[in-house]
Symmetry: C2
DNA sequence: CAAATATATGAACGACTGTTCATATATTAG
DNA sequence: CTAATATATGAACAGTCGTTCATATATTTG
């Protein structure tokens, strides 16, 4: 009963640890949402768009030319970024300018870069 | 020539901005790698594994029981996490214990949570 | 050695995702 | 109003990904 001799099917489990960790796990829904957020960062096109918006507010066409993508592809991706509240639109006549929604985007990407570069 | 009257196919582009941003973009390969890193975080199973390892060093079977997954599924995911240097293994006899590789994992997940929760 | 067990791995299948293409909507100019 | 244009969106297709199942490898026990 020391937590090292309990079975899990055919496998042994460190039971005490598992119980302890279980208690500290956030709700499933929150973990799901978190994964959804990272999924949005997990595409090089979207990363490029976000990086471009680090520097300046840009319209859809600017981004398309900058990254060598079709207007449609960019628009679809901006929709994803917008629905995760990572970018925000500002409409000016026919043109829609996009910019970063908040500083979490910068921080997250910077942290990610640090990991890559070490 | 004020940067507002150049064409991009049928579309108008803010040329000066685009040129300026282009110069500041990191290399494509780096952006690709960054997206790959975030892709690893972009799965709720892997997020759960990482969160579990926040609390304790755990073996494959512990994680499987904790999350209600098969041993195989967990092992496959640990492989992904390991190859991104997010977790590290410690072998002890038949058992392999996994723990977080460094603190970037915590920081990144914490930042992501902040964005989710605001 | 053989048996038991903890983990790893390869193949395959279904589900999801990013792009393209065609088209719709919205705004401005004439 | 119509024409031009900037963006958005729906459908479809190809490629990717996570799981399962079967099996291989590695370690300990007897």
């Amino acid at each position: 009963m020391d937590g090292e001799i309990e079975r899990c099917g055919f496998l042994f489990v460190h039971e005490d640890m598992v119980r302890q960790v279980t208690e500290k796990m956030p709700e499933d829904e929150k973990l799901y949402d978190l994964a959804e957020l990272f999924k949005v960062f997990g595409d090089s096109t979207r990363i490029k768009i976000l990086y471009a918006l680090f520097e300046a507010e840009l319209c859809v066409c600017d981004i398309a030319q900058l990254l060598g993508l079709t207007q449609s592809a960019v628009s679809h991706q901006l929709r994803v970024l917008k629905s995760s509240r990572l970018v925000k639109p500002r409409k000016d006549g026919k043109t829609v300018f996009y910019s970063l929604a908040d500083d979490h985007v910068r921080t997250l990407i910077a942290q990610g870069m640090e990991h890559i570069e070490e």
